[in-house]
Point group: C2
Chain length 202, copies 2
């Protein structure tokens, strides 16, 4: 296999994290999920709790300055960016370094967008209907008293969509951004894993 | 294999028609494309040329009455619907009958929406970047003097999106409507075919 990067975006409960781990294990390549990336960002000097919170929070106040800074058309001093934006930039740097280093699987954190200029990236989006996701979430994380499961699914996906839109100016789940999107209620995870392994080895 | 229906929606030039034929051949099941469905509609008494034209034309004037008629909440006389809408209704009836009869592959014509209440349908969307599609279209259909290929791609997809939105009240290419979406510039058609055959046999 040539060096290849797999990014996985996923609706909450659709199995994207599990699928990513399966693909990485089968190919014998590193697997980076949000927790690992958050840890790497924290290692650069941010408080781990704040990094975690920032991961699914999209600041809105500084987005104009932030996008100018990212496009390099003007120089924005660190004092003018929110801490959320600084964390996003640190995270993007880490994701680029991980992709440079070796083949790997990266889940979440706008990795598809951050690595969009590479030609060795395969972008995956994983989704499923509410009933399927509800069952998986309750099995994996259990109930939260007083919070209906539908609300948890919606809240989490809304945050992901907002975060993605804020930092990429793209729509989360717009199929043109993905090489493969899979409804895991119809395609078993093992089968989806074998497909991605096959396309990477091709 | 249990009885299973595959619907394929596709960007112009992405290879959806070819892929559908490959899947049908490999499974030994009928393949219905727009031409076959148009012929079936024409057989019910419409002029074949008009049926062809209507296939990618979305009337807007009568959509309110049309949607009422489709939802069966009121009875709308044939005189109050446009001929385009009558053709859509005839076509939907034919697609439902084909799906009742046997396993099959149906390309285009809102089949995913028309068959949305069945649980034996696997919905596929096929897309690719402009460069890949331009090459395929020029290879298959040749150039049209004075009409840039980019314009042909855009025009055709715009018509399909408009037609789909008009008759389904959904967005064409919204990934939640599909069980699998494939970027054929990254996944060879033979591989995509084997995946769909595998999931249908599962």
């Amino acid at each position: 296999m040539l060096k290849r990067i797999v990014t996985i975006s996923r609706q909450f409960g659709a199995g994207g994290h599990t699928l990513g781990k399966m693909i990485a294990d089968q190919l014998g390549i590193p697997f980076y999920d949000s927790e690992i990336i958050e840890q790497a960002v924290a290692d650069t000097g941010f408080s781990p709790e704040f990094v975690k919170e920032a991961g699914e929070y999209a600041s809105t106040t500084h987005s104009f300055l932030f996008n100018l800074a990212l496009s390099h058309s003007v120089s924005v001093g660190p004092g003018e960016m929110s801490n959320y934006d600084k964390i996003y930039i640190a995270q993007a740097k880490i994701i680029r370094e991980l992709a440079d280093k070796s083949s790997c699987v990266i889940v979440g954190r706008c990795a598809d967008y951050i690595l969009r200029e590479r030609d060795d990236v395969f972008n995956l989006f994983v989704h499923a209907n509410d009933a399927y996701r509800a069952e998986r979430v309750l099995e994996t994380y259990g109930e939260i008293p007083g919070k209906p499961i539908e609300e948890r699914l919606e809240e989490k996906d809304k945050k992901r969509a907002l975060y993605y839109r804020h930092y990429t100016d793209r729509e989360w789940g717009d199929l043109e951004n993905y090489d493969l999107t899979i409804n895991t209620a119809k395609v078993p995870l093992e089968m989806a894993c074998s497909w991605v392994v096959q396309v990477l080895k091709d």
